[in-house]
Amino acid sequence: MSLLDLLLLLSLLTTLYLYAFGNHRNAGHLGMVVYAVATGLVIAMAGPLADGTGAVGSTFAPVMLGHVLSWSMDGLGWFFALLTTGAAFFASWYMSGEWNAEQPNKRIQHGTLALNVFCMLLLLSSGDLLSLFIGWEFVSWAAFLMMTQLGSHAARAAFRYMLYALAGAMAVFAAILIVKAQIGSFAFADLRAAVPALSDGLKWLLFGLFGLGFGVKMAIVPFHLWQAPAYSFTPGASSAFLNAVSARMGLFAILLVLGKLIGFATLSDLALPLIPMDAKTLLMWVAAITMVVPTFIALMQTDARMLLTWHGIGQGGYMLLGVLVATPLGTAAGLMHVLNYASYQMALVLAVFAVIHRTGTADLDELGGLIKRMPFTYLALLMGIIGLAGLPPMNGFVSKWMIYKSLLDTQQPLLLIAAFVGTLGTILSVYKLIHNIFLGQLRAEHQKVGEAPGSMLAPMLILAGIGFATGFFPGLALGVVDVAQAALGVELLPHGLGGVYLATGSLNMIWVVGIMIGAIGFGAFVFYVIGNRRYGVHQFDNYAGGHFLSADIRYHFSHEFYPGLARLIGPWYRGSVVNMENGLMIGLKTAGDLWHGAFRIAYTPFYLLVALAIGLWWAGLDGGF
């Protein structure tokens, strides 16, 4: 029994146990222990994987219809597995205390979390294309199950997700079947060996089908519409887990199949006719659009959860762009961004759900001034948005800097501009988030709101702390990234504890953060000590235009937060992609109605007559009777 067997068995048993007994009040604690052990197991696997060629196999290898299904985890899968179990640990922690006590369907929440972990581990350790597809379907349906928990809205969003995911899965299915038909095997190694011999048309087909299939899960534009609502309407910790990990499965699969098996180099040799672009650049531009468009859509959201999940889509674009640069720096940047994003996005989502837990709403028009009521939540959220915006001293800055730098190094100025535009949009919208929830005037109905309980605060603060720590010492994260990078066959990035050391320019976060803290400390010193500003102003102690304002007058500016931008973006907001989706649905319905009507016709032998006439005509075509 290998470590991988142990890991999978553990998560499977946990799933079964939690589905049966998840209503017990200690389910969250049990989950924490299990996921901690699982994380430990994953870490224990690191040894043989470090050189990039090793893999931890599973002894479970059923033969199905003549195909041996195999599971074995390599460095790439290991990287994402660590992410998965870690995220599950924090999610479970979040659910272990007061949250757990108040939820109506704990069993489902704990059970689906465990199920998702199991399915993801299965996917991440898939050893051939068939087990990859099976894992892929498992992950899709497990996520679907998680998303439907709350019914009605959530079920509709999940349903939409499911249709997208299934369409993507079918594309993947088609692709692996084509591979099987062409090379006669589902094995990774065989595909890798056969790629150079494939025709360009076939490569395009595989690129398109795999890209589409995995891209749907990553929510790349234009297949992104499902993600925000589906993730947003999932309860608390589940939502955070989905945000942090679920879409990354798409990235994993793209890295594995397009990056490792087919090879990004192969893709850059696939030239488009007429326009000077190759398959890889095409995908990079898709990633760039995914960075920009959803970010600005996020800006328009009035629901805190939706705002964050729309950002999640955009952040996925950064990761994809980074790994597609395919230099040591770019790959490391993309992979590091996965970890970084997971830490701050989880902290953010958990913080927002803590606010919902206390106030009952995530509507940005209905909140405000909670800074004094929920200061630690505020702190977690503040650290999170700094990371999300990609500013020092948080880890988001490091990975984004590396992405910019890799684009600069590979001379892609247009993509660099797109990345900057995306970051700009992020900064604008995260300010909206923190302002509308925590700053400004406290609403009357929130006077009695208290701080989130410790069981919820701890995970988000720790996550934010991780974000800060890996911002301060990026080497911690880069060490983990190395394993995946080695497995991908990309040269390792030279790095130290403080950052990356390149010939073209280095980044040492210890200096950056050190200087920053020093400067801020100096500023604070000047402000508070020399400037003698030692007292705070009461939250209701406000006036405007010469009038004192009492708490019942709303002066907190939160509705239509960016009117100018809104006018600019508005026309795009429900734009072509939404129309496309609608059009597809309408077309499908119309076609369905047509066929349905055709079956209701009263003169059924007529079809027989027509079919007979046409069929006989066709039969007589070659040569006559």
């Binding site: 319905k589 109605d593 209701r600 009263a602 003169y603 032998p605 007529f606 007559l609």
Partner: protein, 154 residues
Amino acid sequence: MTDAMLLAEALGDVLYTGAIGLILLGLYAMVVPRHLVRIVLGLLLVQSGVNLFLVAVGYRPEAAAPILLGGQAIGPVVDPLPQALVLTAIVIGVGVLALALALVVRVKDVHGTLDSREVAERMAAETGDSRLMPETAPGRGAAVPAREMLEDRS
């Protein structure tokens, strides 16, 4: 080409024409008229046409009927097999016809009409909402709400 062969060919043309004519007229009667009895008659015609063709296939000029009178084989006989098949087909046909007519009687009973389209509409109306209706309700099917439910539901 001998006279006999010409004659056989002419006979073949006549018979094939007859068979095709019956099949086509029967198909027409099954497709165009809406009265169910007429459709049943059309079915009868198609069956007859097919039977005629099948017997014609087994014909052989200047051969005797496949009945060996006197217990001896005298010269060639026409193919007995298609005849046996057609005999079977005729009996099958009458069985199906009887059941069809029984259903016609019953449809008239319960739907009050023998117009194919009206029957179809009434059926759609009936099955639109619930499944088992009291059977002693001739002419039922006026359930308008059920029909509405069959219409477009977004």
